[in-house]
Amino acid sequence: MDEDKVNKPDGFLERLEKVGGESLPSSADGIPSGRVQAEHLLEMMESLRDGPGLRFEILIDVCSVDEFTGKPRFDVIYHLRSLETGALVRIKAFAEGDPPAVPSVTGIYPTANWHEREAYDMMGIHFEGHPDLKRILMPLEYEGHPLRKDFPREGIEPDRLYKRLYPD
């Protein structure tokens, strides 16, 4: 595996700068990371999928992190892989606002559909433009977002929740 090709995929830094993103210091796994503003996210994703430079055809994962004491609080992280070289890149975008929102990339990578639904379900991040944003792992009428740091690990008594929703 060519070290350079993996750690500096062609054109990644250029594409990042073009949308005004900033490159982040490398992590323990050596995957190049960049942070973009939510407004430029779709542009960045399109340029990653189509080029110029190394094309990242597969969106591997969309996940979210709750920085409980940070401002902004929610961070959405995308991992993309190139089929040609197997290289990975990581894109991060803060989800700001109330409710925290970020544009949906399902138009560019259809696989984001369920990943974004899960991020919405677990963290409460809204993905604008998502075709069908509803809960995926929890029941549809559930309230609360389990992976947030202020959600108890033991969960919330379903009795209390459902007694409120269905008083009879």
Binding site: M1, S27, L83, P139, R153
Partner: protein, 397 residues
């Protein structure tokens, strides 16, 4: 009344619930089907019936404790998940594995791949009516269980991997038994192929069913045999090698059309290649310790020393209570039987991860179900579900 005076047939679409309890959905999958007669208009999978909150639990457990949780993600290929998790934490800690550990992990992962595909071939053939294959493939899987039992003490959900190495070494007798198994395994594969590959009924039920183009597969994020069935020759063991895969010689099976038959052939060929990998790895297996000296502080020392020596006693205490990787983040992916399993760990320097994300292949692969099922007949659902080969434990976590 139409012109000829006949009554017009009133047709409407029917919504059928293929409920979470169903023998052919391979776990607790619910599919809400919109049917026009027997034709599927839409098949919407509803998941979450096996959601156990593993990612939330991970934030409260130590890195070693989470190994048992990774077993139960894709519960038919436990040790492959263990290896993925351990590799992610090892990346975070910057640990170099010993060569023996790398080869042993390859052997265990490939045995797990064979075991997982045996369940797949048995269950998906059973769903299509070919019950004989089920009994035969589970007989082979019992042999693999015996091998797992011999070195790890458990048949399933072994959790045999540790951060920096393995929980123990694999004895030479067990290695010989694994070698004997892989020597006779291609013969068994020939038996299954005799029953299925040229079987008129099997071909009719899987040829052309659930076809997905390469670009659709890539767009939907399919990985593993589901992606390779459509054409792209992408396998993390070759394209982003890890452990000892770059030193071993094997081929990647790809399909052309991306239908259920192609995915079936890809997995059968993968089983053959796995047997080939195991035999090579056994031949090349180096001696030496299973974990490097540098991780003495991360793996529980042998109890005989813990009870008698001060140093090991302190290590035991610190390992159980106080294993702290440096702050940072990693994403490490491995090629498990279902596709690409990735662990994204955000560490803030504590004993537990700050955020733990499991990128499960089955979750992403299951998204392709509506695309594959649209326009097919209802009885194709079992063929498509079988060929997708997902495990609900991994989908829901």
């Amino acid at each position: 009344m139409t012109e000829t005076g006949e009554k017009e047939l009133h047709v409407e679409e029917m919504i059928l619930n293929m409920g979470p309890q169903h023998p052919a959905t391979h776990g607790v999958l619910r599919v809400i089907l919109t049917l026009d007669g027997e034709t599927i208009v839409n098949a919407e999978p509803v998941v979450g019936y096996l959601h156990r909150g593993k990612e939330k639990h991970g934030e409260d457990l130590t890195y070693t404790q989470f190994i048992t949780f990774t077993d139960r993600l894709d519960y038919v290929s436990s040790m492959a998940n263990n290896v993925g998790w351990c590799m992610a934490v090892e990346k975070l800690l910057g640990i170099e594995l010993t060569e023996r550990c790398e080869y042993l992990r390859v052997i265990v992962c490939e045995l797990t791949r064979i075991a997982s595909h045996l369940i797949w071939i048995g269950c998906s053939a059973l769903d299509l009516g070919a019950a004989t294959v089920f009994f035969h493939s589970f007989r082979e899987r019992e042999k693999i269980y015996d091998l797992f039992d011999a070195f790890s003490g458990l048949r399933m959900n072994n959790g045999f991997m540790r951060i920096g190495g393995m929980a123990g070494d694999i004895a030479p007798e067990v290695i010989r038994a694994i070698d004997d198994f892989t020597a006779e395994f291609p013969g068994y594969l020939d038996e299954y192929e005799l029953l299925l590959s040229n079987n008129r009924i099997f071909i009719d039920r899987t040829r052309g069913v659930g076809a997905i183009s390469a670009s659709d597969a890539i767009g939907l994020g399919l990985t593993g045999p589901n992606l390779r069935g459509s054409g792209p020759s992408f396998d993390l063991r070759k394209n982003a090698p890890y452990l000892a895969y770059d030193r071993l010689d094997f081929d990647i099976a790809v399909g052309t059309v991306g239908d259920c038959y192609d995915r079936y052939m890809v997995r059968v060929e993968e089983m053959r290649q796995s047997a080939r990998i195991i035999r090579q790895a056994i031949k090349d297996l180096p001696g030496g310790p299973v974990y490097p000296d540098s991780v003495k502080k991360m793996i529980l020392p042998p109890k005989s020393r813990v009870y008698t020596r001060m140093e090991e006693l302190i290590h035991q205490f610190k390992i159980v209570t106080d294993l702290r990787p440096p702050a940072g983040e990693v994403y490490v992916a491995t090629e498990v039987p279902k596709g690409e399993l990735g662990f994204y760990i955000v560490s803030r320097g504590g004993t537990s991860p700050y955020r733990l994300r499991v990128r499960s292949p089955s979750f992403t692969n299951l998204q392709a179900l509506p695309v594959m099922a649209k326009g097919r007949l209802f009885s194709d659902m079992t063929a498509i579900i079988g060929a997708l080969d997902f495990v609900m434990g991994e989908v829901d976590r």
